[in-house]
């Protein structure tokens, strides 16, 4: 198996964001065939004073080592992918994601996450979102606790 070297992740330009959340709606359409956005979207745009913040998976992959059934994998294109047919809905990845980017909707027991599909990028009329390629080794993290932090 060839281990991918790079991955495309989302980059946000808050100055271009108008807060209309077209990105979230596009995302929930990808994951749940729904235009609701919000809880059903893997990307969240949050108001931050006069500006906006983006909250989404950065593909550091810490969750991969959490999955007991191997449902989380890094795909050939570098993205961290949850195979929902293998997933047994334990929420370990949801609980352990350091930034809360692995999400769970009441729709189904299996979580969902950003797959860098670009639907949100295409949905934004202002170009506030962009997919950028970065090296996996620079972002990669592992979960193991090294005998406490004392």
């Amino acid at each position: 198996m060839v281990n991918p070297k790079t991955v495309k992740i989302l980059k946000f330009h808050p100055e271009k964001c108008d807060g209309q959340l077209g990105c979230e709606k596009a995302c929930s359409n990808v994951h749940f065939k729904s235009d609701e956005g919000g809880e059903k979207s893997a990307i969240r745009i949050i108001k931050d004073g006069n500006s906006y913040k983006m909250h989404v998976c950065d593909h550091r992959g810490l969750c991969i080592d959490m999955c007991p059934v191997g449902a989380l994998k890094r795909k050939k294109n570098g993205i961290v992918w949850l195979d929902k047919n293998t997933c047994i809905g334990c929420q370990a990845c949801v609980g352990f994601c350091p930034i809360g980017a692995m999400r769970k909707s009441d729709e189904r027991i299996e979580p969902f996450k950003c797959i860098s599909c670009g639907a949100c990028v295409r949905a934004c009329p202002n170009g506030a979102l962009e997919l950028v390629e970065i090296e996996i080794d620079k972002i990669k993290e592992i979960v193991y606790h090294n005998l406490g932090v004392k």
């Binding site: 992959g61 080592d65 999955c67 059934v69 929420q91 193991y144």
Partner: protein, 774 residues
């Protein structure tokens, strides 16, 4: 293996690879009898039926689980008790044809969202104690059994030849097949069966197979454990967890069962079909986050598992050393958890059921076996857990590698590490005193620290060695005590006081000498001295939070009931208090971990859809707890005399022990017994030891008085029909038995307090026969 994010297929354990002729092994199978069942759906945590198999009469049938059964017995261990009550006799012994081996699940078992939700509860009449022993265990069998369609499996009778029992949830079939060519020892047998019974030759398919097995050691001892497998898709080995206590594996092999294989078609996050999956996901995620953020500052389970306790116990003088004579040792740091951390494989989700992020099931992969039939091979060792390391210190073995070796062979031979270690520690002490010697031990030099002799003993047990010592030693401390006394090789009192067993079961690995409440936690138990009922040492001894008999009795009511609840539901106790919310210390009752208790209320509610309160949880337990005690009474072992504990667990048996804690004991005599310091100085050590002995024995009896009263039992420890009725347990046969036994006690003058009360000392109740008024 430090880099992480390794694709599952690229993980490598460096274990020795085996090649077996699977075709030949399969061809040797012959179906003895079989049964087809309609695949069912689990509803709100219950499959609503149990499976009965009789190996003697070749009968298989389903039993319906009624709403009444759920209301009274909840599930898990409760169901096990109910099934046994309907099937065995008071005279049933471990090897009687009608004795049953029961594996149960529980309504919350198999949940993936909440950590620690994959426990099976196993019950049988134990060879060690002649009463029911219950033992909980992780691994995939329990969840799979339920998802295959059954809340419990009940196996009665004995097969003529070695068989494998297959419960196939994929095809809806139960097959009893002869299995002459498979290995018997767990690590090899499980590898064979997992591969043979998987529907496809893939790791995901193998992960849907789980095996119950034991080993050669179980055939030849009373320490047989059950190994429950959980296939690890990264290591590509079926790992195992043990239902250790009470000789369940011995019963498995006596029934000529080589293994029980359970397989499922699919596992999902809602296989239990909970009433409210959203709430389950929410409370589960909340706990995952607590573990993520706090475990490394609290128990460090994710890094070293329960072995983190070794250094704590050593620090507090509680680590059993040289057969519980001491609680700490200068060499102990050699077996602290960092020493095992060095060997553990990292970066693998080490839960024994899916979704358990406590992840305490650590392993050492690629361990090179040093002795015995597998010498030179590289294997995966599951553990060691704290108890197994504690066996190391108890036998004065201070080398992590030899503890791993002991751990590996106990597991694969199907021996309970706790009983084995505690018993050998006792034999070693007897060896030190010359009560045993090389000649009497069939040529084994069983002195403290001799790890080679320990392993030799295990191998000889597994081989079925006929030496007189090997034969009796493998039956445990109680039988060896009787043997030594009969041979007249030593002082009877010394032998009785040193051997750490109660009810015939060996103690687990904590020194209880200075904590009266913990003595009760081991002695005033149902199955024998195991710490799963109550662990009160810190509360009692370190924090002095339960100073009076009444306080201690309350703790010995609440905690055993609370901990019993996990077993009724198919849960592990660890995620209750081995991780605590950050603000736990500021709550009203930190020892109960109120926030987590509320989690469990919400959890059971979300699963079953029934309205419940935290008081209901205790009531569920109280029903089953009293039912089990009543069954003990029925089987002749549920009285005060049966709650006897050896003096080694109460105080210093030998002068050496007294001297090792002289300041503590001298002070104790002054403060508690009221002898002035001046008078103590005039006393010799024998006089002081006698004083302490009498005082502590009396304290234990007073504790029993208070506990029996709190639990609603007679002063002789019998649950009363009045109490049973209060709890809603109205089985008329049981009520009559209890009344008859109480009447017998009354005639024999046994319904009296056990403590010697001086003027001014408070009795638990001034009314004799207090229970009659309820």
């Amino acid at each position: 293996m430090g880099k992480g994010q390794i694709p599952t297929e690229e993980y490598e354990t460096r274990n020795t690879k085996h090649k077996w002729d699977y075709k030949k092994i399969k061809q040797a199978h012959r179906i003895v009898f079989k049964y087809s069942f309609k695949k069912g759906k689990v509803e709100r945590g219950y499959a609503n039926r149990t499976l009965y198999i009789n190996l003697s009469s070749k009968e298989i049938k389903e039993k319906k689980v009624t709403e009444e059964m759920k209301d009274k017995f909840t599930g898990g261990r409760g169901f096990g008790l109910k099934l046994l009550w309907d099937s065995i006799k008071p005279t049933t012994r471990w090897n009687s044809d009608e004795n049953e081996l029961i594996i149960t699940t529980g309504p919350l078992c198999g949940t993936t969202q909440y950590p620690g939700s994959g426990k099976s509860l196993c019950l049988t009449v134990s060879p060690s104690t002649d009463i029911i022993c219950d033992s909980n265990v992780g691994g995939f069998v329990g969840p799979y059994l339920k998802f295959a369609g059954f809340d419990a499996i009940e196996i009665q009778g004995k097969a003529k030849h070695d068989v494998v029992i297959l419960i196939d949830g994929e095809k809806g079939k139960v097959l009893i097949e002869t299995a002459p060519l498979e290995e018997t020892n767990t690590h090899q047998l499980n590898e064979q069966l997992t591969k043979m019974y998987a529907s496809e030759d893939t790791d995901n398919s193998r992960q849907k197979v789980s095996v119950v097995s034991s080993g050669k050691g179980a055939e030849n001892s009373y320490w047989g454990c059950l190994n429950f497998s959980f296939y690890d898709i990264r290591r590509k080995v079926p790992r195992v967890k043990q239902a250790g206590r009470g000789g369940l594996g011995t019963v498995l092999r006596d029934k000529k069962i080589k293994a029980i294989v359970v397989k499922v078609e699919k596992v999902s996050g809602i296989s239990n079909n909970p009433a409210d999956p959203e709430t389950l996901a929410k409370i589960g995620t909340k706990l995952h986050r607590e573990i993520r953020d706090l475990d490394r500052y609290q128990c460090n389970m994710r890094a070293v598992g329960t072995a983190h306790l070794v250094e704590i116990m050593d620090e507090y003088d509680l680590l059993p050393t040289e057969n519980y004579r001491f609680g700490s040792f200068p060499k102990a740091s050699k077996i602290y958890s960092p020493e095992f951390y060095k060997h553990f494989t990292k970066i693998i989700p080490d839960g024994c059921w899916h979704g358990c992020t406590m992840a305490c099931s650590k392993t050492v992969d690629g361990f090179t076996v040093m002795t015995g039939p597998y010498k030179g091979q590289k294997v995966t060792v599951d553990g060691p857990e704290y108890e197994t390391v504690g066996c190391g210190s108890n036998m004065s073995i201070w080398d992590p590698l030899w503890i791993l070796e002991f751990n590996f062979y106990c597991d694969t031979y199907g021996l309970d590490t706790i009983s084995t270690g505690t018993a050998i520690a006792f034999y070693m002490e007897m060896y030190e005193y010359g009560i045993l010697n090389k000649g009497r031990c069939d040529n084994l030099e069983l002195c403290f620290g001799n790890y080679e002799a320990v392993l030799d003993l295990l191998h000889r047990i597994a081989r079925g060695d006929n030496g007189e010592f090997i034969k009796v030693a493998s039956k445990g401390i109680r039988r060896v005590k009787d043997w030594l006394i009969k041979k007249d090789w030593g002082d009877k009192d010394l032998i009785e006081d040193c051997g750490m067993e109660s009810k015939g079961l060996e103690y687990s690995e904590y020194v209880t000498k200075e904590s009266l409440a913990m003595q009760g936690g081991y002695g005033l138990t149902l199955k024998g001295p195991q710490h799963d009922e109550a662990w009160l040492i810190f509360m009692d001894m370190v924090n002095n939070a339960i100073p009076t008999f009444k306080d201690k009795a309350e703790a010995l009511h609440y905690f055993p009931m609370w901990r019993t609840w996990f077993g009724l539901n198919g849960l592990c106790k660890l995620p209750w208090n081995d991780i605590e919310p950050a603000n736990n210390a500021e709550t009203d009752d930190p020892t109960k971990v109120p926030e987590h208790v509320q989690n469990y209320v919400d959890y059971q509610k979300a699963m079953t859809g029934k309205k419940i309160t935290k008081e209901d949880l205790i009531l569920q337990s109280e029903r089953c707890y009293n039912f089990q005690r009543a069954m003990n009474v029925w089987m002749g072992r549920g009285r005060r005399k049966d709650d006897w504990i050896p003096y080694r667990s109460m105080g210093p048996v030998t002068k050496m022990e007294y001297i090792s804690r002289k300041d503590r004991y001298d002070k104790y005599i002054t403060e508690k017994i009221g002898i002035s310091e001046k008078d103590i100085e005039k006393m010799n050590i024998n006089e002081k030891m006698k004083l302490l002995y009498d005082f502590r024995q009396d304290q234990y009896q007073k504790l029993a008085d208070a506990v029996y009263y709190r639990r609603g039992w007679t002063p002789n420890g019998v649950p009363t029909p009045q109490k049973m009725k209060q709890l809603g347990m109205n089985d008329s046969k049981m009520l009559k038995i209890l009344q008859d036994e109480i009447d017998k006690d009354e005639k024999a003058g046994l319904n009296v307090w056990g403590g010697k009360y001086k003027k001014g000392e408070e009795l638990p109740s001034i009314h004799p026969n207090y229970w009659k008024k309820w």
